[in-house]
């Protein structure tokens, strides 16, 4: 029985989700050196937006609303808390941990702690290299690819992309050249949060949705950035491919919660052997 194409496609849809979550993490943690323990909450909020949207009859509505809400929440978080703490890393960790706990518990008070699920909006199967494959997963892969392409174009060839690269490389010099570094950071943070929320919507029909779901994505995205190497889109791709591929690979063979544990252990080994990541020097 030929399960290889199936494994690869399933891995690709997980990798797509990880890329969307980790682009924000790469900017926030990899480039701005801010440890945001509330990053998983953007994903969780995105998934709950999908729950509400599906209940009022329009899953697709969530795809438009969640990124905006996520970005809004991200910008709020940056401008009220994180902005004050760029020089106090331990306090950033504690404050964002606080935000994460509060957001989780507010969602739990509102929705309850029992998990929700969202109906698959594209229930069909398509034939991929002779293997029937869920249409929705193909859609997820396409979405991530499109967003990534747009992101790379924006990073390379828009004014904002230029400002961001300048602000990250040398904030003092960028400021001297007239770049509003604070605003650039804020928008970058918002974009990262919006993408994570978008990933939350996309992942909603594939998983169960509960207030604490963000933690697993938070840890994965940290390791995507650390394993892949900070400071480049290539690093995010490599890290997502590593985590996503091994997780799908072991899920096919073992099932249960062991695969995640094995992948985290593998990631720790990679961190030990290549502390600067797979893609760098």
């Amino acid at each position: 029985m030929d399960t290889l194409p199936l494994t690869i496609l399933t891995a690709l849809s997980l990798i797509s989700i990880l890329i969307l979550i980790s682009v924000g993490m790469a900017i926030i943690f990899g480039m701005m050196n801010v440890i945001n323990l509330a990053h998983g909450e953007f994903v969780m909020l995105g998934a709950y937006v999908a729950v509400i949207a599906a209940q009022i009859g329009g899953f697709w509505l969530a795809l438009a609303i969640a990124p905006l809400l996520g970005a809004g929440f991200g910008i709020l978080l940056e401008s009220t808390i994180i902005r004050l703490l760029y020089r106090r890393p331990i306090d950033t960790i504690i404050a964002t941990l606080g935000v994460s706990l509060v957001v989780q518990k507010l969602v739990e008070l509102w929705f309850g702690s029992s998990p929700y699920s969202v109906m698959n909006p594209l229930p069909g199967l398509v034939d991929v290299f002779g293997t029937p494959y869920p249409l929705y997963r193909i859609f997820v892969i396409g979405c991530a690819a499109a967003v990534l392409l747009l992101g790379m174009i924006a990073y390379r060839s828009t004014n904002f992309g230029l400002n961001l690269r300048a602000a990250i490389q040398d904030p003092e010099m960028a400021r001297a050249m007239g770049v509003d570094v604070a605003a650039t950071y804020r928008i970058a943070f918002g974009l990262g949060a919006g993408l994570a929320a978008l990933a939350g919507v996309l992942v909603a029909p594939l998983t169960s949705i509960f207030p604490g779901m963000g933690l697993a994505y938070l840890i994965r995205s940290f390791f995507v950035v650390i394993v892949g190497g900070t400071g480049s889109i290539g690093g995010v791709l490599a890290g997502s491919a590593f985590i996503g591929f091994f997780e799908s690979f072991f899920s096919f063979r073992l099932g249960g919660a062991f695969p995640q544990a094995i992948v985290l252990a593998l990631a720790i080994i990679v961190v030990r052997l290549r502390p600067k990541g797979l893609v760098s020097g």
């Binding site: 518990k105 008070l109 840890i219 919660a257 985290l264």
Partner: protein
């Protein structure tokens, strides 16, 4: 010279601990059995907080996954003692728990610390480690009992020596835990003020300089990590042996956050602070949680966020006169 200047400080610590022990030793005179069990649990969790403070406060290595070792000790005790029965099981379980936690600390130390992994990277790795342990504890149900854990654990003690050498009554457990907690606090304080502590402080202060002075930074930090994981495992063993049950929550990420809270509020790097912090915060959490379990995390989360605004020098400054400064700051803030 420095040893003279540290003696009185250790004396003050001994005095504080002595007063605390005297008070708690007299507590059964008026306290209820239920009250004693609460104090005893708080003392055990205080030892757990102590292990994190040794690693984070003294060794500068933030662990946000320290329940991994508390739970590892607890599960090792549960599995071994249930296998071997009441005669030798508890002793073998304790030895197994301490050994496996020391081994885990040594492997992690050699593997990570010698590669120069510190600070934020170390923190993220510890979060991953507790996640791994938690998932294994849930998934490997033939060994760990899965979500239900393992119940009916025997109490600590040595039944083959004497029927009385078993901590099977609340009073025996209470006094044994009190003695162990006081001893742990005093020994660690001694250790941190001695040669080991000064070498460690040199490493935390400036690694390259410590290296030129002939200190091996990774070795000192690994020793600290091993000591810390072993103490955490010991606390876990005491806790599950007195509760008679081990569940996956003891090895989980949320419990790891709880101990971070105790250490931060008690005052990182002071050893006795986290102990007191555990007493106060854990008790408070029990009270609030009995009302509604969700409120506690909401309160802790809000406290963390507010601390950024109210305590610009960090939560660690929340002690003694700093607390008074906080109140005057709040008073000024609310005055129109």
């Amino acid at each position: 010279m420095s040893s003279e200047s540290t003696r009185p400080a250790h004396g003050r610590m001994a005095l504080t601990v002595g007063i605390g022990v005297a008070f708690l030793a007299a507590y059964p005179l008026w306290g209820t059995v239920y009250g004693m069990s609460i104090v005893q649990d708080a003392l055990i969790l205080g030892i757990f907080a102590l292990s994190l403070d040794l690693l984070w406060g003294k060794g500068g290595l933030p662990s946000f996954g320290h329940a991994a070792f508390f739970g590892l000790g607890g599960y090792a005790y549960a599995i071994v003692s249930m296998q071997l029965g009441n005669e030798w099981g508890p002793l073998a379980g304790l030895v197994a728990a301490l050994a496996i936690c020391a081994l885990a600390g040594a492997i992690l130390g050699v593997f990570l610390l010698t590669a120069g992994i510190r600070g934020a990277l170390f923190l993220i790795v510890t979060v991953a480690i507790v996640q791994i342990f938690h998932q294994v504890a849930i998934s490997w149900s033939s060994l760990t009992g899965g979500d239900n854990g393992i119940v009916g654990l025997p109490p600590l003690g040595l039944r083959s020596l004497s029927e009385h050498a078993v901590l099977d009554t609340p009073a025996k457990r209470y006094f044994a835990v009190l003695l162990i907690a006081a001893a742990a606090l005093l020994l660690l304080d001694r250790l941190c003020r001695g040669r080991f502590g000064r070498r460690l402080a040199a490493v935390v202060d400036n690694e390259p300089r410590a290296l030129t002075l002939g200190i091996n930074p990774s070795l000192e930090l690994t020793k600290t990590l091993v000591l810390s994981t072993t103490i955490a495992g010991f606390a876990g063993t005491l806790f599950v042996a007195s509760a008679g049950v081990v569940v996956p929550e003891f090895i989980g990420p949320l419990f790891s956050i709880e101990v971070v809270v105790w250490v931060l509020i008690g005052g990182r790097g002071t050893l006795i602070g986290p102990f007191v912090g555990t007493f106060v915060v854990w008790r408070l959490s029990q009270e609030v949680s009995s009302y509604d379990p969700r409120l506690w995390q909401l309160a802790i989360g809000s406290f963390f966020v507010l601390s950024v605004f109210l305590l610009p020098r960090g939560i660690a400054s929340l002690r003694g006169d700093a607390a008074r400064a906080l109140f005057s700051r709040v008073a000024r803030a609310v005055r129109p």
